[in-house]
Symmetry: C2
Subunit: 353 residues, 2 copies
């Protein structure tokens, strides 16, 4: 606390990212990164862009990247916004759409950054409990609101809602913006992007951090009706004209173009997830059905916190959340096949000891 | 305007960056970029960082870069904050320090993004007129306020205040944060960074975009007392955990280390500025004394808007601001020696025609 801070600053509850320890080499299954490297074409594109033109500002409108994403998803460039990771876009979206008289609705168990944004922008939120089986029932969101946001697949739980269910919500909720955070959609879920043509209040946010193995590059995008995109542009251009540097723009553009590598990577992660889920089932774990690159698991006997610490001692990092409802679960990122074999083997030993 | 926007969004007045036209090749003297490329060591460091580790998140605390900047400026790492260009840091600083009951003070002629931030965060501002000779007199700022910010050298005018003058302000103004935007300080000004040890309310913001030829990489930093830095961290971590990607971190780190290249580049820009100033003086221009990589000029006869258009037709872009007090001036970025010779030659022809 400092006397020079704005009053609101001491009330903020900043997001705490998963740890990135440097004390030893870990099998890192704690921050939902992709275990496979980015496409070699992306690496080459970045090296190519590492040149004298770095002295010049990047394109503030990121037109080439917007065009490529628009083409990929079958929409117009004016339907696409890009930003410094989906986190930045989420922040801008909270400001642009959710500062309303009625409360914002989101699930009680989800990406904890949503709470941080509400504190930052003084947005009143109503947290809707997920069901006992950890699913989101969108019927619970049909009530007066100043906006709706949910992650699909849901952060933390990994389960997924169909576009049909989302469309039923959109039919009922026409007065406020509905934001679907699809950070993990490429691992088996079905995107709701086609619905933007029918519903002018729907915004979809995706990221290149997970399915395109580019967490270190900081690129995300949003797709929605042109007026929603214009709102995001207004806010962004009142904050920072150039949020993506020339290297991120070049790498992201190439990533969108390399469809084959992208599909292959996602396929491998999905296969490994299904294998891991099956193995853990045989060791006394319940696993929430996942369409993401992580699984939420609970053992019938071993407390999550104990297992978390034992795995850490063995050089395997997973994520433990000391929060209501998930306190006895662990979130495990899907690593490579080899990493998950090691993980399952260690878990087997710990469960049996 | 959309019914789904937060009310505040339609009242925003986004910053408009200088144009980056693609219709033809221009001598670009309109956005204060450095005419020299970044250090070759920076390019190499970025190529080296373009690797498989891009699948992992960058260090959210940017420790290596903070350490290097701290060492360079003789302060502790805890005194340094880094961000996505000085624009992002300015935005975070406005939010962190300037949401107060009393108005923020800044010059009436300065970086126009300050107005955009005030609109964005609903900060009341009082614009203090610069003097008729376009200088800032800090005595004008000794009055009740909720914060003070000025650019030094001042954006638009290029003139500079000494650390002694800044210290006199700090002696008188102890109750609010004082932010000095030193984006252009390396072109002949003297930084106020040493004063942070004595004044806990002083924050200095610099950028690698100008003097280090890295506008395309988006890296800036702030230096101040630890509590001020903690405030910035709180806001940033409520907005976006990872604002600098792995490539920007690697390039920026190497740039800070290459002192020789940095000094040489600055020296060349300063020399060319002095030459250009002298030449323009002989052609009937008055030039505001500059310690930046640009000059603000006015011709005794030729209206600024006319000259701007004629230069544009000749393939030379400078910046014209249709704003009170500077409507009859042009802001001209200092290019290479060759570019400025062409510029002076074209101006000579236009003035005589």
């Amino acid at each position: 606390m400092s006397r020079y801070w704005s009053k609101i600053v001491s009330d903020l509850e900043p997001y705490v990212p998963g740890e990135q320890p440097k004390d030893r080499r870990y099998i890192k299954l704690n921050t939902n990164e992709n275990p496979y490297p980015p496409s070699p074409r992306v690496i080459e594109a970045i090296k190519h862009a590492a040149n004298d033109l770095l002295k010049l500002y990047p394109d503030p409108n990121c037109e080439d990247l917007r065009d490529a994403i628009a083409k990929y998803h079958g929409v117009d460039s004016g339907n696409v916004f890009v930003g410094n990771g989906s986190d930045e876009i989420l922040a801008l979206a909270f400001f642009t759409f959710f500062k309303q008289d009625l409360p914002l609705l989101f699930p009680d168990v989800t990406y904890s950054f949503y709470d941080a944004y509400c504190n930052l922008f003084n947005i009143e939120a109503k947290r809707i409990p997920i069901r006992p089986d950890f699913t989101i029932d969108l019927k619970d969101y049909i009530r007066p609101n100043g906006g709706i946001i949910f992650a699909n697949p849901n952060a933390l739980t990994a389960n997924c809602i169909s576009p049909e269910e989302i469309e039923r919500l959109l039919e009922a909720n026409t007065g406020s913006a509905v934001v679907v955070d699809e950070a993990y959609i490429d691992f088996g879920g079905e995107t709701a992007i086609p619905l933007i043509k029918k519903y002018p209040n729907l915004l979809i946010i995706q990221t290149l951090s997970k399915s395109r193995s580019l967490a270190g590059l900081r690129v995300g995008f949003a797709v929605g009706e042109q007026e929603l995109i214009e709102g995001l542009d207004r806010t962004k251009n009142s904050f920072n004209s150039y949020t993506l540097d020339r290297l991120a723009l070049a790498g992201a553009l190439e990533s969108i173009k390399d469809e084959e590598y992208f599909q292959e990577t996602c396929r491998k992660v999905i296969e490994t997830r299904e294998w891991t889920t099956k193995e853990l089932g045989g060791l006394g774990f319940s696993v929430v059905p996942s369409k993401a690159n992580f699984i939420l698991i609970q053992h019938e006997r071993l407390p999550a916190k104990v297992l978390f610490q034992k795995l850490r001692d063995e050089g395997i990092l997973v994520r433990y959340f000391d929060k209501p409802r998930v306190r006895n679960h662990l979130r495990v990122t899907i690593g490579t096949e080899a990493e998950m074999k090691t993980f399952v083997q260690k878990v087997r030993e710990l469960v049996k000891s």
